[in-house]
């Protein structure tokens, strides 16, 4: 049967899956494994180098050789499924937190309690993201979220203060628009990335993923649509991913952008660019922004005794405070333990807005579990339909609710 399943994958995505599957050596009866395989999707130069350092540190510390493999983000889940069907899963994997539910549901993961890893001290949101049916299967060394990043020089020149509410954001974006520049840039691409960028507006306004067509949800989508129809944000947001958004910001085409902390290092490289970071504006003054929790969780697949234990040891090392801090600094993530994050925020002023937001951030899969990808896709479709003017916000969301419910 495993061959049949591999054949299915070949048919379904021959172009994407032509790379050979990793062949992990079968678990022997040896008392301790001295080498493990690891899979992640840190394919960008900076993130990959930072992650390699974390793995090197833990290899030295545990005496376990780590054979690393990296795939592009979009191929992560197909790769895991392929590994699951051919029993060639890596010993340790780091995947986007919303996919953990899918992988855990296959029964391919081991509970982290097997390796003495507990949820103590972590932000509750990230614990929820890693928990499937009351068992912890994945934890992150660092998390991330979205904030509003602004160009200090452009705001000063226009006499605009960084906005903190929706009304202020509307006014600021309008005031900064002109001369071929847009006030605001964000991503509304037709995938998870688009949904993820919309969720801070959606959740901060009190909407829930279980009901996409609620008044709160409609209001949030109408608000974001208004930013585009008024011309304060480019109509091209429906084609931009978050890297494109950062490009627009760096090029000076956008005065403000919604983006993640992992882009800060790239902004720092531009010496002439002076930027500031504030939390995502909220519907009403005094409210707390609710962003979606991002970042990768580490998990240990079922591969057989000794390598599993070795992978558990490496994961424990990655989650230890020094490595957690090292990773967070190198890739601008927020440490996923509250105490470590507090220390980190005090040292890194540019990260403070992100650290503040993580406390109230939500896991995307808490409410829906395995159903999340379908709902997320339906919501991304609704966002695109509304932003392109194909459907008004309320109708787009009604359609999405029907698609998500079916």
């Amino acid at each position: 049967m495993s061959a049949a399943r591999r054949a299915l994958l070949l048919v379904a995505s021959a172009a994407l899956l032509t790379a050979c599957s990793p062949t992990a050596p079968p678990a022997s009866n040896a008392p301790a494994a001295t080498s493990i395989t690891e899979l992640d999707y840190y394919a960008d130069e900076q993130g990959s180098a930072a992650w390699q350092k974390v793995l090197d540190a833990c290899a030295a510390q545990t005496g376990i050789r780590i054979e690393r493999r990296t795939v592009p983000t979009a191929q992560m889940l197909p790769k895991i499924l392929q590994g699951a069907s051919s029993k060639t899963l890596p010993d340790l994997l780091f995947t986007d937190n919303p996919t953990l539910q899918q992988v855990a549901a296959t029964g391919a993961l081991t509970p982290l309690s097997d390796y003495g890893i507990s949820a103590d001290g972590y932000y509750p949101g990230i614990v929820k993201a890693g928990t499937y049916r009351d068992k912890l299967y994945g934890v992150a060394p660092g998390v991330n979220g979205l904030a509003l990043i602004y160009n200090k020089d452009l705001l000063t020149a226009a006499g605009v203060r960084p906005p903190s509410t929706w009304d202020e954001l509307t006014a600021a974006a309008a005031g900064l628009t002109g001369d071929g520049k847009y006030g605001l840039a964000f991503s509304a691409i037709s995938s998870e990335e688009g949904t993820w960028q919309f969720l801070p507006f959606f959740w901060s306004n009190g909407a829930e993923l279980s009901r996409l067509d609620s008044p709160q949800s409609t209001q949030a989508l109408a608000y974001v649509t208004g930013l585009v129809t008024s011309g304060s944000a480019s109509k091209s947001v429906v084609t931009w991913n978050q890297n494109d958004v950062a490009d627009q910001f760096v090029a000076g085409n956008a005065a403000m952008m919604v983006n993640g902390s992992w882009n800060l290092a790239r902004l720092d490289e531009q010496k002439s660019l002076h930027y500031g970071v504030v939390p995502i504006p909220v519907p009403k003054a005094g409210a707390k922004p609710v962003v979606a929790l991002g970042g990768e969780v580490g998990a240990v697949p079922v591969t057989g005794g000794p390598t599993q234990q070795a992978a558990g040891k490496v994961l424990t090392c990655v989650l230890a405070e020094p490595t957690m801090l090292q990773w967070s600094k190198a890739h601008a993530y927020v440490p996923s333990k509250t105490a470590v994050a507090a220390k980190f925020g005090a040292e890194q002023p540019a990260m403070r807005a992100f650290v503040d937001e993580v406390g109230s951030a939500r896991s995307r899969t808490t409410e829906l579990g395995e159903k999340y990808p379908k709902v997320s896709q339906a919501l991304a479709d609704a966002i695109q339909a509304s932003l392109t003017g194909k459907l008004p916000a309320d109708q787009a969301l009604k359609t999405a609710q029907q698609a998500a419910g079916s």
Partner: protein
């Protein structure tokens, strides 16, 4: 297949037949392993409730035609079918038309002709992902080169990829650009096979350029035309990467075709059975066109033989 034909019918020449089969075997084995088996697996999957869990446990309950019913009931089905038809027809007509015009142009010999012709092959040599990414930049509404040009001539900026009306023409345009070299090369080869003496005779009879094309070139090019269009159809109907890179099926599903939708059902919604069902619908359509072509090719051959 062709090897089996020359075996003489008279007399039981067993070892001859055996040799023929031995020659045939590798091809048969290849087709069975790399085409037959995945195809059958895809058909089986389309009748199963195949989820993420099935990959690990191997359990996927049989659900009959439920996946097909679900796919047909999905409002995206008609969108995907219509987009596939428009994409295929639009690409074919212009790829072929422009390819033919260029082939006729290059059939005449002139200095630098060969160099120009090989330069025109460039789109064919580039990886599709690269072509797609470059076109995506060119289509950018605010900073793309296409809109810079349109502003220059006084036409406003076109929302190429950010409007549901323009996105499909944009991906078709990209695919036409990619497909022209193939049409050019094959048709150019076909033109070279037409004896120059026929054109000369027609010219002596007083036929103009258009009449020579209409009454000499076009009829003699017909067999090649059939092959080009057929192969073009099969290539175009299954185009995936171009659309995926340029628009990802968006905005708001405006460029969702059967291939991108099949991928999305499988790898975003994890409805692998439904994804397989859409894939099979596509295979059926391609097969239908393939059979049509075989019939017309047979008729052409019979005509030629008569």
């Amino acid at each position: 297949m062709t090897l089996a034909a020359p075996v003489p019918r008279r007399g039981p020449r067993r070892d001859g037949r055996f040799t023929a089969w031995a020659f045939l075997l590798p091809a048969v084995a290849y087709v069975v392993v790399f085409f037959g088996y995945p195809l059958a697996a895809n058909v089986v999957t389309s009748t199963q409730d195949y989820t993420v869990k099935s990959f690990y446990t191997g359990e996927a309950p049989f659900v009959g035609l439920a996946n097909y019913a679900a796919v047909l009931a999905n409002p995206l089905f008609s969108t995907a079918v219509l987009n596939t038809v428009l994409f295929t027809a639009g690409s074919l007509v212009f790829q072929f038309g422009i390819g033919l015009a260029l082939a006729v142009f290059f059939a005449g010999r002139f200095p630098g002709g060969a160099l120009l012709r090989s330069l025109l092959l460039l789109p064919w040599l580039l990886p599709l992902v690269v072509s797609g990414a470059v076109w995506r930049w060119m289509f950018d509404q605010d900073h793309g080169v296409l809109n810079a040009a349109s502003r220059l001539i006084g036409v406003g900026a076109v929302p190429w990829l950010s409007s549901t009306a323009w996105a499909l023409p944009a991906v078709i345009l990209t695919n036409i650009w990619i497909g022209i070299p193939f049409n050019l090369v094959i048709l150019h080869g076909g033109l070279r096979a037409i004896p120059a003496s026929l054109h000369e005779a027609a010219a002596l009879d007083g036929a103009g350029a258009w009449q020579r094309f209409r009454h000499v070139t076009w009829p003699l090019l017909r067999p090649v035309t059939g092959i080009v269009l057929m192969l073009g159809l099969v290539y175009t109907i299954k185009v995936f990467d171009v659309i995926m890179v340029v628009t990802g099926g968006g905005p708001a599903n405006a460029t969702q075709t059967l291939t991108t939708w099949s991928y999305r059902l499988s790898f975003h919604d994890f409805a692998f059975g439904q994804g397989a069902a859409v894939g099979n619908v596509l295979i059926l359509a391609a097969t239908a066109f393939g059979l049509l072509y075989l019939r017309s090719a047979k008729a052409t051959l019979a005509e030629a033989a008569a």
